[in-house]
Amino acid sequence: MKKGMHFPVWDGGCIMKNMGLALALLVLLSASCTTIPRDPGPERADLDFPGTRCADLGGLSFYFTGDAFLRRAEELIREARDYILIDSFLVNEDEKGKQVFELLRARMQQGVRVYLITDASSGFVPGRTGIPFLVRMGIPVAEFNPMRGSRLARLPLFVYRDHRKFWIVDGEKILLGGQNIWTTSLASPEQAGNTDSMVEFRSAVACRELVEAFVRQWNSYSMDKLHAGDFAVRPGPGTGDSRAWLVHQDGQAVARRMFSRLFDLAREEIWLIQDYTMPDRAVLRRIRRLSEAGVRVNILFSGAYSFLDKFHYATGYRKSALIRAGARLWEYGHPLSHLHYKAVIVDGRWFGIGSVNFNFRSAWLSKELNLVLEGRDQGQPMLENLAYLASHSRPITEEEAAGYRGTKYFLYYLLLFLGG
């Protein structure tokens, strides 16, 4: 090529043309990624569940308020003998956050190994991210996918977040769910803390998978490398026939398959306790099909939003379409407490609990972690809690939902569909 010759890549028109092509391809790519697979799976009840079967699972306990979980977390920290691994989407330097961190430091000084991974989103929520505080206290912390000017060249990947919340104590006890380490999660509902949940259980199968995932992620973002073999895993207490699955989205899109499989199993009634439900057309079609087959689909939204009122607008935009598809919508009536609990209950027999929201972001753009249980005996506390939540909820009418179709609702829906 001669000097001065025009190189097409840098021609403005050519760039626009190429960008147009790229955008068109990206739109096609996004259109192929629906929140739930377009079609139901085969009509076979014996198909195994997406995720890791935890046949050795036992020792189930549920915590449905922040203060109940905080009490248990403090107990576990005090009782820990060997190590504590925590992955928390958000950590904050506020009253409850500091309470947990100070206890962790005290146990570290007594020889317990503590490692904490958090998502960089902590720096983009109200309050002060807990990372500098943790560093000052000497608690080892790694930040997943930092969002800083120095990483600007990785900008499209900023959308990928670690939304999981799990604790592993001594290779034996696991807690997972929706509760972060900050006052918003750990205060009681009466103190305006979220209505949220964590489930505690024991399973060597789940523990091994989570320890390995934790160490892999830690080593990717910290210069102080760990070895999974240094974190002993103790045998699970179950008899080997427990019907439980760890649905762990760590690079593969399994959350959407979890919803799809649970919907396939439904014969009578589905309860989605999912305030961040943002359905696309595939979801609406599936709900319509379920309704036509006689399955009652209930979706429970929050009535209080605190600083999260953007989600009221984003989820409001499709409420009318959900009702038209046959879903029954409910609004939890607590005046202070935001409903952050993420669960799905099918026919009072199948139970999903964890971090997964029913939206595109959780389906494709986040690391997520859920536990799925089969059997009324295992999920009885979730049924009792659902009865409580339902008795404190009111139906959302079609007229009310129609009022959520304004420009503001639409723009927030567009924004939070990917970025929420």
Partner: protein, 177 residues
């Protein structure tokens, strides 16, 4: 072909990462962007340049860790689109050392990670070729990235004669895979 060549990395970069990119250990490589300039008017105009490309660091050795890189370099201020230049070479991380004050300053666990390197600059219009020797004493490594400040380069011609010098003001090398 050129459109496809541009589209492919763009799609790989921007596609839903849950499917194709995530964290891994050890990292194998990623992309770099840098701001640089050169004092060798016979080869490149006196301008602020931007460079971007891909690098591979396959071995993750604690010392003497090699990496290869290739990318393009373009004078941007003032813009000289006709001077598009290929940049490729080898960098050798000498060691990674823990410096306690780095943690207090940045609150991420960084390591001092000085490097030396050698490479070439090739004008895509065929106007010339230069070899480079670089030293990067101010280089910090995080778990997912390497940051370089004020890295001087010596420009040599085909026969090994010194022809000028350059300076990489800032380089961010971000691991992707």
């Amino acid at each position: 072909m050129r459109a496809a060549a541009l589209l492919l990395p763009l799609l790989l970069w921007a596609a839903p990462p849950a499917r194709c990119l995530g964290e891994t250990w050890p990292w194998g490589g990623g992309l770099f962007v840098e701001s640089c300039g050169f004092a060798e008017a016979a080869f490149l105009p006196p301008a602020a340049c931007l460079s971007a490309g891909l690098f591979l660091e396959p071995l993750a050795l604690p010392a003497g860790n090699p990496a290869v890189f290739a990318g393009i370099l373009l004078p941007v201020a003032p813009g000289q689109t006709g001077d598009l230049t290929l940049r490729a070479g080898l960098a050798l991380t000498l060691f990674d050392a823990r410096l306690p004050w780095l943690l207090r300053t940045f609150y991420a666990a960084l390591r001092w990670s000085p490097a030396i390197g050698a490479g070439l600059l090739y004008r895509l219009d065929g106007a010339g070729l230069r070899f480079t020797l670089a030293a990067s004493p101010l280089r910090l490594r995080a778990g997912d990235a390497i940051f370089t400040l004020c890295s001087p380069e010596l420009l040599l011609d085909q026969w090994g004669g010194a022809r000028g010098w350059g300076l990489v003001l800032f380089q961010a090398a971000l691991f992707l895979f």
